[in-house]
């Protein structure tokens, strides 16, 4: 458990669509890299080298800065046994920690329940994006999902009502028609409570952008916007400990070179701006970020892209992170591959457990469904 008075905060960034491990953390001295990537191999002079053998993708300059500042851990060869090559299935497994059956409970849902067993703070877990990721879904655990912080709330974006006085009046009417005095029966009561809570939650969260000011200018792309929203809510001290957001699609079967470069330009800039923003407000020390993807991609390229693979790479970022590399880059030798894929060497549930136990101070076992090797990046 980190020795900080402030509650620990975890920000999860999901790289949807399967980020290509080999072109993210590039083993540029390995001849097998060149051999397998005749079309996608990144030119050595463009790479951002950080060890004698490994380099970041050319678009990851801001990430390299975090590495240099000792704010970053790289977790090699992450995945799980009998890795699924289906995005949907694999993402489900990462979300539920259930590789053998179709699970419904999200691991972060369990985290949020354990952080706030009474469910007192509907903002304990906040997702920025459309719909709730299964990772945060757990019956009875209220979480807030915000597609757009600026327009979040009841009766927003309705031209007939507008955003002014008329809407205020409508919201008052809304709270009255959802009042306990109206309606009978359990379902009506439940709807009333939920409606009033939603109104309250929206009232609270909408104060976040109002209070916020910063010299950091985030780029104009969805991940930058999401992480800026995370910063705003975090800085508003609303008690949120789990943030979730995602970006993609990293599913680069085709035309990978420009697509992947753009994605990492966006992600690197956004992540770097996010931490700079928190530091500017002296609010970075209790925040770590978990970056993951559902699996890595095929070792051999397919002409202009590469296909679904297995072992991948994950990152932990933040002041509290013990920097360095953890685990081993899986072998690229043909005889060590499984159907052309890197074989995962580290179970993601150990990665999760490290955050749950060493950062959030929770018992990881029930959260990830068992005991898995933790690592010392926290």
């Amino acid at each position: 458990m980190a020795s900080t008075k402030k509650d620990p905060v975890l920000v999860v960034l999901q790289l949807s669509g399967a980020n290509d491990y080999l072109n993210t953390v590039v083993p540029f001295t390995n001849p097998l890299y060149r051999e397998n990537r005749p079309n996608l191999g990144l030119p050595e002079d463009q790479l951002i080298k950080f060890t004698d053998d490994l380099a970041f993708h050319p678009s990851m300059g801001p990430v390299k800065d975090l590495w240099d500042q000792g704010q970053m851990a790289i977790i090699h060869g992450i995945g799980y046994e009998n890795s699924s090559r289906s995005h949907f299935r694999s993402m489900d497994i990462w979300h539920t920690c259930e590789p053998d059956k179709v699970g419904t409970e999200g691991w972060l849902g369990r985290v949020i329940r354990d952080l706030d067993p009474a469910g007192e703070n509907v903002l304990k877990g906040v997702n920025f994006g459309q719909g709730l990721p299964r990772a945060m879904a757990l019956r009875g655990v209220p979480v807030t999902s915000v597609s757009d912080l600026a327009s979040y709330g009841v009766l927003t974006d309705i031209p007939a009502i507008g955003a002014g006085e008329e809407r205020e009046q409508m919201l008052e009417l809304f709270s009255r028609v959802y009042s306990p005095a109206i309606g009978t029966g359990m379902t009506m009561d439940y709807l009333g409570q939920t409606g009033r809570d939603a109104l309250k939650g929206a009232d609270i969260i909408k104060t976040a952008p109002e209070q916020y000011s910063s010299t950091i200018e985030y780029a104009d792309n969805p991940i930058a916007k999401s992480l800026k929203s995370v910063a705003q809510v975090h800085l508003a001290n609303l008690g949120t400990q789990i943030f979730y957001t995602q970006y993609g699609s990293f599913d680069t079967h085709f035309n990978q070179l420009p697509t992947h470069a753009k994605l990492w330009t966006d992600v690197s800039g956004a992540v770097s701006d996010f931490f700079a923003d928190l530091r500017e407000h002296d609010a970075a020390d209790n925040v770590v970020m978990l970056v993951f993807t559902e699996f890595g991609r095929r070792v051999q390229d397919n002409g202009t892209g590469c296909d679904h693979g297995r072992g991948g790479v994950a990152f932990a970022l933040g002041d509290a992170v013990n920097p360095g590399m953890y685990g081993e880059y899986p072998s690229m030798k043909a005889e060590d591959l499984f159907e052309g894929d890197l074989v995962p060497s580290y179970d993601f549930r150990g990665f999760y457990s490290t955050f749950a136990e060493r950062w959030l101070g929770l018992d990881a076992k029930p959260i990830v469904g068992g005991e898995f090797e933790q690592m010392d990046f926290l």
Partner: protein
């Protein structure tokens, strides 16, 4: 002119057996009569409302894409535009009961093919449907029957067939599961070319005799060299099956029941209703139409208005139908599909084989805000054809007192029945601006605007969440 109670009852039928109907359609149906409408829903005319050729001309991605959203959008398009509402509704019912998910199947075209099967076979009879289900490739893959081999059974399909799809837990033994699983060995999927990189190919059911266990089985007290069809024949003759299906039908079409896992300890809301449906099942040999006919014509159905929380698909589709701006090929249908997902019902991707939890469990804070904002935005837009029709209906009623204005809006948008307290609040709102009149262009414009705001507020009420 039909009376208000007839209209309300017809609206109830159309909400449950379909995805709602406009005032004009309700009046027309009332003129034909309630029972005639039930028959028409069960045996609709030749025109489905969907021209299959035009569908794929204007939406070529529906048959070319591999993406989940394309499959979801096609289904939403059909739900919104169908003239066979009960066929789409029963497809949704079977999808929710036989919950198969793209999270594992990872093949949206196959999921859509399963839904098409529900649409086509959904009003036949239960044994036929179960056989089709057992042979449906998406289901075979979802419940691992392709891994169910002679001499080494995989029980997943056999277990869920009994537990979740027919009899319900507690009415069979673990041995019955094993024996049923043996009977379905060799029921698998034929190989097909991979979808990448030249697009989709469909799976087909394949029976492999060399992988089938032809031996003797004991199942639910019967002994014989059963295969899958025989197992289904035995299952559908059980009263437990009739009771299980009756409770599902009641929960979907009549009134919200407790969730399935509670069924062994919590009795049905209405035992007599379940008994009536069970009798219809047994008398008809599990004929779906016969059971639904009994259901829709029953008093318990007619008395169950607004006792069912709309699922996201019901809310999104019925609101889009009412607003009337999605009546033909256009852009924007993917957003309706996304909206279902964002409200908690990603079509063709239920959270697990135990399906979505229904009733009040559809609602959480995020879902409620989405439901309110979605419906209020559409119904307050007085430029949309369906909303225009509502405003025209108001106008026909001439000058309206605030109370008549609120009452008329509630009637024309549903009718929606609201609590007295809700009505008083809406009335207080309406009274601020006095009577509604259409005398001058200005007053008509003002009245139209007020109607839009009032419809938005009705869409935002708790009562609007119910069907």
């Amino acid at each position: 002119m039909p009376n208000q109670a007839d209209i309300a009852l017809m609206a109830h039928l159309m909400r449950r057996a379909g995805f709602g109907a406009s005032r004009a359609e309700l009046e027309e149906r009332c003129a034909r009569g309630y029972e005639a409408t039930v028959e028409e829903l069960l045996n609709p005319g030749a025109d489905s409302g969907i021209d299959e050729d035009e569908l794929y001309r204007y939406f070529p991605q529906f048959e070319s894409s591999l993406a989940p959203v394309a499959a979801q959008t096609e289904w939403v398009y059909r739900m919104v535009n169908t003239r066979w509402p009960l066929k789409e509704k029963i497809a949704l019912f079977w999808h929710q009961l036989f919950a198969t998910g793209n999270s594992k199947v990872d093949n949206p075209p196959e999921m859509l093919a399963q839904v098409a099967m529900f649409r086509k076979e959904g009003l036949t009879n239960f044994p036929n449907l179960l056989v089709r289900l057992a042979q449906n490739p998406a289901m075979i893959y979802w419940l691992d029957n392709n891994g169910n081999h002679y001499g080494s059974i995989n029980e997943n399909w056999g277990r869920e067939l009994l537990e979740l799809f027919s009899m319900g837990v507690g009415h069979y033994s673990e041995d019955d599961i094993k024996e049923a699983s043996r009977a379905f060995t060799g029921w698998t999927i034929g190989a097909k070319p991979p979808r990448q990189p030249v697009g989709r190919f469909y799976w087909s059911f394949e029976f492999r005799p060399e992988d089938h266990d032809y031996g003797e089985k004991e199942f639910l007290g019967n002994t014989g060299n059963f295969d899958g069809d025989d197992i289904i024949d035995i299952i559908v003759k059980q009263e437990d099956t009739a009771r299980f299906l009756a409770r599902h039908l009641y929960n979907f079409f009549v009134a919200d029941e407790p969730q399935v896992p509670a069924w062994n300890i919590t009795p049905p809301n209405d035992e007599a209703a379940i008994d009536l449906l069970v009798k219809a099942y047994m008398d008809s040999g599990a004929d779906i139409k016969a059971i639904l006919r009994a259901l829709f014509n029953s008093d318990f159905f007619k008395e169950a208005q607004f006792q069912h929380v709309k699922s996201p698909a019901e809310l999104v589709v019925s609101t889009a139908r009412l607003a009337g701006n999605y009546y033909q090929p256009r852009t924007g249908f993917p957003l309706l599909a996304f909206e279902c997902a964002w409200q908690g019902q990603e079509l063709m991707n239920p959270p697990s084989v135990e399906s979505w939890h229904t009733g009040s469990e559809w609602i959480d804070g995020g879902a409620l805000v989405r439901r309110v904002n979605f419906a209020a935005k559409l119904l307050s837009d007085t430029l949309l054809p369906g909303v225009k029709a509502i405003v025209a209906g108001l106008k026909e009623r001439g000058t309206l007192s605030p109370a008549d204005f609120v009452r008329s809006c509630l009637e024309l948008v549903g009718p929606v029945e609201v609590d007295d307290g809700t009505f008083q609040e809406l009335l207080t709102q309406a009274q601020q601006d006095g009577d509604i009149s259409w005398d001058s262009e200005e007053s008509a414009a003002e009245s139209e605007k007020r109607a839009g705001v009032m419809l938005a507020m009705i869409a935002a009420t708790r009562e609007f969440q119910f069907a």
